[in-house]
Amino acid sequence: MDEWKYEPARDQHLPPDEQLKSLQREAGLPAFLTQAASRVAIRSYLKLYHRLKIIDRERLPRSAPFVMVANHASHLDALVLAAALPWGLRQRAFPIAAGDVFFHTKAAAFFSTMALNALPMWRKRCGPHALDELRARLIGEPAIYILFPEGTRTRDGRIGRFKPGLGRIVAGADVPVVPCHLDGAFRAFPPGGRFPAPVRLIVRVGVPLNFVEVSDARQGWEEVATRLEAAVSALAADALPTGP
């Protein structure tokens, strides 16, 4: 007879409030239910209030793992990208959120976990270890990450430089990275805004890129950032009104 395999929750050894902040966090039944409820609520809100439109949705891979990246203008962005996923994949999606905003207090960490299923990225002290952890989880689980390589929301509406940190997660790995462009978010809810305006949001899904041939080193990471920035910028160009 085969021995039974027990696989404890990977965050089991942590005290409750550190579990919320852990990259190894695993949702139990309560979080699973609140996240499902919050997904329904958020999607309805985006559809009704922002008339969310998703273009070329069929370009999204059918199964995890993959990474969605986009330009970053507002706190709505991660919600919008998650809402673009088909229902069956949405529960595998983890928005990678700024630790200093979304996990700063216990209440914030609780909300980010129970409602958003976000994982923290500590911008000031994000060591290579955290990125390696994210990479291992992405492939091992397998998971879907939603992240914004600019590292911060745009202050003027233009797309900023993509940071190479993302490269550490995907360079050399056979994981599709889907460039997306988000239109309207800056007008709807710019940094410093108090309440979202009912502006239409449009997501353009790009053709997935794969970085399995790229070296998992500084040069490769830069290449990942450059190529994704170009891809998102190209989608942004499509978004501009054409003709006179």
């Binding site: 027990y6 404890p8 089991q12 695993e26 139990g28 039944l29």
Partner: protein
Amino acid sequence: MILGLHPVAFWIAAGIAAALALTPLIFLALDATKKLSPELRTELWIRYKSWLILAPLMVAPLLAGRLVAILAVAVLGAMCYREFARAIGSFRHRAVSGVVVLGGVLITFAIADHWYGFFTALPSLMVSAIVIVALFEDNPKGYIQRVALGTFSYLLFGVCLGHFSYLANDRLGAPIQLAILLCVEMNDIFAYCTGKLLGQRKLAPQTSPKKTVGGALGALILTSALFATLGHLIFAGSALDRPIHLLTLGLLLSLTGQFGDLVMSSIKRDLGTKDMAATIPGHGGLLDRFDSLLFVGPALFHYIQYFRGVGADMPMRIFTWHG
């Protein structure tokens, strides 16, 4: 009645409060003799602070009336189940896990309704539900393990703990439950202390290397005496108020309490982990604290039920219609 409480319930609560108030003085006295190593000193303080939160959380609901007591035990059961399911990994099977939680809700309802028929129907019904729901995954690989772990955890945290909860339906529910809780905790402490003093031979070195035969016997004697004394005051005038019954109850409590401890040690050894979680500073998980309570409930409940009856003179089927 003192302050609306049964005298035994009142004095147990007062005694626990007094013990918690006096403990810092004992620490200070020990400190003055300079016999405590700094590590042991911090360890004791962390444990004490945890008790300071844990003890009122355990005692207050049992004093607050039938429904609060039943709900509090249900919450405890749910938290223990969560810890257990996360430690063995069965929480990832959400369908089975959901049925286990639903079973916990239903058994809590049966207890709160004081509906013994439903209470006894639930174990078999929920086991059936678990084996059936586990089919829906259409994945025979690991089926036995999923089903067995779901059933096992429901029986431990729903049914066994439910028996402790059901005692709240008795007229003497609060004093009985408090006496059990106190004696179960004292049982651990007695075993630890007598083990330190007289413990020579190991009880089960593979399962729990620190436990000794001396500690187990010491706890058996002291806990039985303590429970028999409290039981005499609680059950005065009833069929159970005879030395043979009171001592048997005490022995049952001490034995099942110690076995509960060993069961959880065995589970932890099998998993290769020291603590079930890191919920309570200094104690580990909730299960590391409440393991000994699990099997005391059924043993004492059915003994009392057989010789005296539990809650027979109280209203039954409180929420459900019955013709």
